[in-house]
């Protein structure tokens, strides 16, 4: 379980709930997830290695990402989603927070925070905080988005890019085999390549094999027709 820790302000003002909770990694803004079809990540899920969609956060904050300032009585995100639909970055934006269940509001000591469903916020009296993250749950959920068809399976190019990434790493490591870091790098890359093969099998089982690129057919050139419309 990954963990990030820090210290929040425990001044008199913050105890009196007068200041927003800026301490916890600045996570007091609502957000949406977006997925670009070129962005994938090889991770270990509870079922084994899978290629899962990499998700970015679009934070709904005035002045950022085209989010307009909220006026009195107006909800900020409504404005924001409209903007994104207009601009269309070519990415899938998971806006339905209720359906995807990813952005629960965590009441902090000095304000609300927005976290993923797989993050647990621990606040301590001495002003320190920790966020525990369930890596496997997060990976499982992202794989489920592919299984249930929310996100389309990756193109062939994605697989080859991933493979090249780890193969290049092995090549670089083999230039300096005397260094322990090279060995570590090589071991990691080899493990990832094995994982990639496993992920490919799982994806094939789900969708049928990734279509191979057709060999280029060289056509015989048709004999040139004589121009008949010369007039």
């Amino acid at each position: 379980m990954a963990r990030i820790a820090g210290k929040r302000s425990v001044s008199r003002q913050s105890r009196g709930q007068k200041l927003p909770n800026y301490g916890m990694g600045g996570r007091n803004k609502p957000f949406h997830f977006q997925h670009n079809h070129g962005s994938w990540e090889l991770v270990e899920t509870s079922e084994g290695w899978r290629l899962v969609p990499s998700l970015s956060r679009i934070v709904v904050a005035p002045g950022v990402n085209g989010t307009a300032q909220a006026k009195r009585g107006q909800h900020l995100s409504a404005v924001h989603v409209k903007n994104m639909a207009e601009e269309n970055w070519g990415s899938l934006v998971l806006t339905d927070i209720d359906a995807y269940q990813y952005s629960p509001e965590e009441p902090g000591s000095t304000g609300d925070g927005y976290f993923t469903l797989w993050e647990t916020v621990l606040l301590y009296d001495d002003g320190t905080w920790e966020i525990d993250h369930d890596d496997q749950g997060w990976a499982d959920w992202r794989w489920s988005l592919v299984v249930n068809g929310t996100i389309k399976p990756p193109r062939k190019k994605i697989w080859s890019t991933q493979e090249r990434r780890w193969r290049t790493r092995i090549q670089r490591a083999s230039r300096r085999p005397d260094l322990s870091s090279s060995q570590q790098s090589k071991t990691l890359a080899e493990r990832m390549l094995e994982g990639l093969a496993e992920a490919q099998k799982a994806m094939d089982a789900l969708n049928g094999p990734t279509p191979k690129r057709k060999a280029r057919v060289v056509r015989k050139k048709a004999p040139a027709q004589e121009a008949t419309n010369v007039g």
């Binding site: 670009n36 934070v59 990402n65 085209g66």
Partner: protein
């Protein structure tokens, strides 16, 4: 535009504004404010961010539509002499930057002022902290914006020099990203990369490397200019770092006009998005120092930016 300090009719020391505020050199004060605002200025001065004074900030919406030529178009010498050229279309992938208000108010009650001794109500020191807050907030806006990079390279760990090769690869495979690459990394990610580099290049180079990192705020690595910032956000146990090509982001700001009436202006230089004013609420016996800034930032073209997700632990 000069800054007005509480010169006329300022109360004597110990009651209200101290003589410290009546600075001898107003220009020096203005420079101090600018220095305090310069914290995040380094990365805002790179080619990754297109900075512009917002043109329609006077409208109620405060929105600016940014059009660009698109990353695949460059001005090449293909035009023949004495020949008309065909028009290139401006890319349809226009994005909006919305200029929003950021504000901060610091109050000082009459009682606190009276018993506060030498500290008193000093608009310059308080104003300087506000200018610093403006700078920190702007870096926060920047970090929040780059978290929205739609294409990511994910590290298998906390970040390593190998990952940087992968990032460069992801840029070069989409040809045409202009300019030098600029990175904004969380110091933790930066340290992890440095560690992996140290192990790779051996002890001799290690010393120079460490010295270079200590001496500079920004560091060149593999031909990329890298800025560290603790404002880099995190989610799902990953730091949301990013690398950008020229013109990846757009920053727009509005310059507040000199107010008519109201409080005393502490800082308003006519070119910065920040204005600091002071006013006295006599019925509450309170001095209020108010900073307003109008700015916004947006990823102009997703093709020019890659998120770099690296583990937080």
């Amino acid at each position: 535009m000069a800054i007005a300090i509480f010169s006329a009719g300022a109360p004597a020391s110990g009651n209200g504004l101290t003589t410290e505020d009546q600075l001898n050199d107003l220009v020096l004060a203005e420079q101090s404010f600018k220095l305090a605002m310069a914290d995040s200025a380094d990365i805002f001065g790179t080619s990754a961010i297109e900075m512009q004074n917002g043109s329609d900030a006077g409208s109620l919406v405060g929105r600016n539509r940014i059009l660009s030529l698109g990353w695949s178009i460059s001005m090449d010498a293909t035009a023949a002499e004495d020949t008309d050229v065909a028009a290139s279309s401006v890319t349809a992938a226009a994005s909006d930057v919305t200029i929003a208000r950021r504000a901060l108010r610091l109050d000082e009650t009459g009682l606190a002022n009276a018993v506060g001794g030498a500290w008193g109500f000093s608009p310059i020191p308080l104003g300087l902290t506000m200018a610093g807050s403006f700078s920190a907030g702007r870096m926060g806006l920047f970090a929040t914006a780059i978290a929205g990079a739609s294409t990511n390279v994910t590290s298998a760990g906390a970040g390593s020099i190998d990952d940087l090769y992968d990032i460069i690869d992801s840029f070069t495979t989409s040809t045409g990203d202009p300019g030098m690459l600029v990175g904004c990394l969380h110091p933790f990610t930066m340290a992890a990369i440095r560690d992996s580099m140290r192990a790779e290049v051996g002890p001799q180079a290690r010393r120079e490397d460490v010295q270079a990192f200590l001496a500079k705020g920004a560091e060149m690595l593999l031909g990329m200019l890298i800025f560290p910032s603790t404002k880099v956000t995190n989610a799902a146990s990953k730091h949301e770092n990013a690398f950008m090509a020229a013109g990846a982001l757009s920053y727009r700001y509005a310059v507040p006009k000199q107010p008519v009436g109201g409080g005393q202006v502490i800082f308003n230089d006519g070119v910065s998005p920040l204005m600091i004013e002071a006013q006295r609420d006599a019925s509450k016996d309170t001095y209020e120092l108010v900073a307003n800034a109008y700015d916004g930032i947006v990823i102009r073209e997703q093709a020019r930016i890659r998120g770099f997700l690296a583990s937080t632990s």
